[in-house]
């Protein structure tokens, strides 16, 4: 699923880039931009932005119990999010840290903050501007799934990404 999304995004980006080059070549040839082609390019950019939003939003980072270090398998996904955020500076991402139900509420609120902050710092190190990101912890208060077993707990120890478009 994740790989399909990545390919989908790559095709979308290639299409946008190809459209962009097309526009450039026509501009060189005629010295003017055909007015009827502009909406097409805008639509494609919007589509690419939508894909970027979907990609940044979809991939979650999961953590071990009482840990906030980012496991290596999430680095590639975060690298991709970083590139998209740099490519679309009008996007703003809120990183939401969450915990499973086993711990206590105040400590989990702090742990969720550390989890959100860990990803924030990682993206910052990759060059994502600070004004494109913030963090919030919901601790154990907003579980993704209900259940009192390791499967449910593992799905709840997570960072989620909420993207908005800056005006």
């Amino acid at each position: 699923m994740y790989i399909l999304k990545r390919f989908g995004l790559m095709f979308a980006l290639m299409f946008v880039l190809a459209a962009g080059f097309g526009c450039s070549s026509k501009t060189v040839d005629t010295g003017t931009v055909p007015p009827e082609e502009t909406p097409v390019a805008t639509d494609e950019l919007e589509a690419a932005e939508k894909n970027a939003i979907a990609t940044i939003t979809d991939g979650k980072v999961y953590f071990a119990f009482d840990r906030y270090d980012i496991a290596p398998e999430y680095k590639a996904m975060l690298n991709e999010k970083a590139e998209l955020l740099k490519q679309f500076p009008n996007l703003f991402v809120r990183i939401e840290g969450n915990c499973d139900d086993r711990g206590t509420q105040e400590y989990n609120l702090a742990l969720g903050e550390r989890r959100a902050r860990a990803v924030y710092e990682y993206l910052l190190a990759l060059g994502v501007p600070a004004d494109q990101m913030d963090t919030i912890s919901f601790g154990k208060e907003r579980p993704a799934v209900l259940g009192n077993n390791e499967e449910a707990w593992a799905q709840n120890r997570r960072d989620e990404f909420v993207v908005t478009v800056k005006n």
Binding site: D66, R94, R102, G103, T104, Q105, E106, Y107, L109, A110, L111, E113, R114, R117, Y120, E121, D134, T135, I136, S137, F138, E141
Partner: protein
Amino acid sequence: MTAYEKTQQRNGWLLCAATMAMAALFLITAPFSAMAAPMQTIDIYGPSQRIVTVAMADPLGENGQNAPQMGTELNTLIRENLRFLPFIRIIDNKILGGTRLAGYTTPNIDFKRFELAGADLLITAGWVAPDTVQLRVFETLGGSLVVGRAYTDVEPDTLVQVADKFCSELMRVLTGRGEFFLSTLAFVKNEGENRNLWTVRPTGRNLKKLTNMNGIAMSPSWSSDARFIIFSHINKTSHALGVWDRRTGQTQRVKFPGNTVIGPTFMPDNKVAVSLAQHGYPNIYLLNHSFKRERVLEDSGGIDVSPSFDAKASKMAFTSSRLGNPHVFLKDMATGQVRRISQSGTYNTEPSISPDGTLVAFSRMTDQGFRIFVYDVLTGEERQISNGPGRDEQPSFAPDSYFLAFVSNRSGKKQIYLTTRHGGEARLVPTGKGEVFFPAWGNFADWGKSAK
């Protein structure tokens, strides 16, 4: 200048006004005869509590006549109150000869029948007028007066207040502390997607909703003058310090850089200790009376949360992950020395230090679930004081350093229970539908309508 700051400035003369008001109240409910030094004293802080057996006589009017209807209701309320005290046993249904007396005071009291039934103390109620009651407590052996109080202008709406004041006085005479019946619990109740602040008397009376906000309230804490309750408030985009003002009923949200506000607690001088994430990880800050950051109280580079202070703010208990797992630490505020006090387990959180500074209660994750433990600051020993089943957490010491409230899901949903520093049977505090969290004691008795 905010309402909160103005309050701080007014605290001085408010204290004077409160003292005068208390003095006026004292005149109305003053003891009406000299009290003998009670023989039936109880050390509620010692290792073994003595049980005092109490009998209640039927309420009487003047000259042995029947009391008004309120008399029976008041006796019922007093009985309900006294059942919250683990060191009192009521035996009023087992008196040979009955509980109807010839009079409500000496020499018209037959103490012998109560003494023979095993009662240590006898409570009498004399309604000297339709709206005036005299409440007395005698020792059955010798008949000496232990407590004597008169209450005027009594109405059905103020009977609870009379019962609470009288029981507070009785507990104070027996143990030295009577705050239990003059306090109110703040807590958080789950209502769909939102959680708001509520209050209830520890006896389960006067359940009241305080806030109506979208989002999640957590960790309420009363100011020492009981005018304000601060709490964490989390909506979809931000954390804030919620400040509820009892005088206006209004709430304000105060945001901080780092978008993190965890476990705020009022200190005795009404300053605030709270975990903020100014530098990217939650540490404990001291806020001044304008909720501006004054200085860092604890910064380990890990997680530092849940500060709790004794009544003099000489010690701060808190949770820290500085050694890897969450543990409870105790800081001497004068020297700055910090020591770890939870030695067992790998997950110890939610400390609540007793106002007298002698015990720290906290929750520990055990193989059976979370349980409440208390650590003795002087001896370094710890004891488990709750036994589930289910999950026991969020202990909160009462102002008397004797009672504790905590949250347990032993009934299937999270509810508030009372126990004592010695443990023992846990007693449910009814809070209606919905799961509840974070009990916090306030030195304030909310009776609704006020009586004289």
